[in-house]
């Protein structure tokens, strides 16, 4: 509970400082919205050239896009700043976080809290909402329940990827870009139907880095589509478990990273 309070205090401080320049803030949110909308424009253009891609319609793809983007939007808003860990290790500014009486990860995540990142969340929500008006889903109580569970578990899985990536930066200090392969790469992947990708690729993001549990498995259940590598349907309900497991592993990686940390001494 203490961690949440500390996070809230630091984030509130950054939000106040951001809102001093209201026009600049509005422009930043708009830019974030537009930048993140760009990948949807590409999907729209692809569907303007073909009625289906990988056997999926535009509305179905928009549903995948929306669910992945909302989850990622939540994670980027809450944890987007941990990307900078390598920078803090290099310039020694991480030392200040270590001496304060609050969890280091909480401080790193809340520092420079970027409210502008709401842009992606909003854009994802819009696309998701639009797709729901276009899709003819056979709603059941289980499917209705699964939708919010999927969005939150997905955010937690992306969160584990973010934290694990940050932990890796304790060792490879200027390799922040490798993290993008898993975060932004993972997001891009999940915005398309799994039928688009090669079988081995799908197996990799299901069992090695469990990105498929962010949205593919639950979303395909909601859409009434089989998963391309023939897994049992009830796996659609396991994202909370996968999220908990991923977060536990990421936490271990983070601890190992902090323990191995040596200050720059400069």
């Amino acid at each position: 509970m203490g961690s949440v309070r500390v996070y809230g205090l630091i984030a509130a401080m950054w939000i106040r400082s951001t809102l001093v320049y209201r026009t600049s803030f509005a422009a930043a949110v708009l830019t974030n919205f537009l930048v993140t909308a760009l990948d949807f424009v590409v999907i729209w253009m692809m569907f303007s050239q073909a009625t289906s891609i990988g056997g999926y319609s535009f509305a179905e793809t928009a549903f995948l896009y929306g669910t992945a983007s909302v989850s990622f939007g939540i994670t980027a808003l809450l944890l987007g700043s941990v990307d900078d860990l390598g920078l803090r290790v290099r310039d020694g500014s991480l030392d200040a976080f270590l001496v304060r009486p609050a969890p280091v990860l909480v401080q790193v995540a809340a520092d420079r809290f970027g409210l502008r990142r709401l842009g992606r969340f909003l854009q994802g929500t819009l696309v998701l909402g639009w797709s729901l008006t276009r899709l003819d889903i056979d709603w059941t109580p289980a499917k209705l329940l699964l939708l919010p569970v999927m969005l939150l578990s997905g955010a937690a899985i992306f969160g584990a990827v973010y934290v694990a990536g940050a932990a890796f930066q304790f060792w490879a200090q200027d390799a922040a870009e490798a993290q993008s392969a898993f975060t932004f790469g993972g997001l891009t992947l999940l915005q398309y139907p799994p039928t688009v990708f090669a079988r081995d690729f799908v197996i990799g993001v299901t069992f090695v880095v469990p990105l498929a549990f962010v949205n593919w498995l639950p979303a395909l259940y909601v859409l009434g589509r089989p998963y391309p590598i023939g897994l049992p349907w009830w796996l659609a309900f396991t994202p909370p478990l996968v999220a908990a497991g991923s977060c536990a592993l990421a936490g271990l990686a983070w601890r190992a990273g902090v323990r191995s940390y040596r200050s720059t001494g400069s």
Binding site: V35, S48, Q49, A172, A181, G185, Y192, A198, F201
Partner: protein
């Protein structure tokens, strides 16, 4: 001769600056390769539905993906590159020192950016393209002349890319904070270079507009030459002419803006 050596030294400095960060380079190669795979699969699905879209067959479309990943960093397609440094120097006033140097400001930054581009072309370009060629059936030419024509187009593309961002960076003289402009430039640039979808495959009027904008000189022209979509002296020269045309216009615009900006600086007393 003296001035040539000076700019060569600046270019070498640009090369060395980026060559210093080995693990960052390795991380970048990894990320470009992962994105190459993701985009390649989506293109395969699209070209399955629409064979021949944009005048490319599927092998050409896949090759386009990997050329895009190989050139993305050398051409600063999704970042502002040197412009971030230049905007910072305008903002904190260090640019006044640069203006007093007995060198041409625009050529100075261009030389440094060319050095960087050469490093990133070989470090971050070769590996993704090789991996792509091993994993997918690509349509790479066997004729060394085509590769040479391609390299010339890449050099011209670097110059156009530089010229665009030089103009954007100069806006900081008037706006004080150029980060918004750079961000917007990156956004527009990433879309109109065709990194996400080839300009040939963009629908309707949007595609027509995209194909004549300066960003079309960055990825589309070199890619079309390497893919054989533009072959023969006449078509290759036409592509070069398009690139040179935009380079001249944008470099001249940069000069004009620069001289009016420096007059403003002098008026303000530096």
């Amino acid at each position: 001769m003296g001035t040539f050596r000076l700019y060569a030294a600046v270019a070498a400095g640009g090369f060395r600056r980026y060559a210093t960060y080995r693990s960052a380079t390795a991380a970048g190669v990894f990320t470009n390769t992962v994105f190459g795979f993701i985009v390649a699969y989506t293109y395969m699905a699209l070209w399955d539905e629409r064979p021949g879209l944009g005048g490319y067959d599927q092998a050409q479309a896949l090759t386009y993906v990997w050329i895009g990943q190989a050139l993305a960093q050398a051409l600063s397609m999704f970042n502002a590159g040197f412009a971030v440094d230049m905007v910072a120097r305008i903002r904190n006033g260090d640019i006044a020192v640069d203006l007093y140097r007995p060198v041409d400001l625009q050529l100075w930054w261009l030389a440094g950016d060319l050095g960087r581009a050469v490093f990133q072309l070989f470090s971050r370009g070769v590996v993704p393209l090789t991996v792509g060629a091993l994993a997918f059936p690509l349509a790479l030419p066997g004729d060394p002349v085509v590769w040479l024509e391609f390299l010339v187009a890449v050099v011209l593309a670097v110059v156009v890319s530089f010229a665009i961002r030089y103009v954007l960076a100069l806006s900081a003289f008037w706006l004080l904070d150029g980060s918004g402009v750079l961000q917007f430039g990156g956004l527009v640039g990433m879309f109109f270079t065709g990194l996400l979808l080839p300009l040939n495959a963009m629908p309707g009027a949007l595609g027509d507009i995209a194909r004549v904008l300066p960003w079309a000189a960055l990825l589309q022209m070199p890619a079309d030459i390497l893919l054989g979509a533009r072959s023969g002296a006449a078509e290759v020269l036409a592509a070069y002419a398009f690139q040179v045309g935009w380079a001249v216009v944008l470099l001249a615009a940069g000069r004009l803006l620069q001289s009016s900006a420096t007059r403003k600086v002098v008026l303000q007393g530096g």
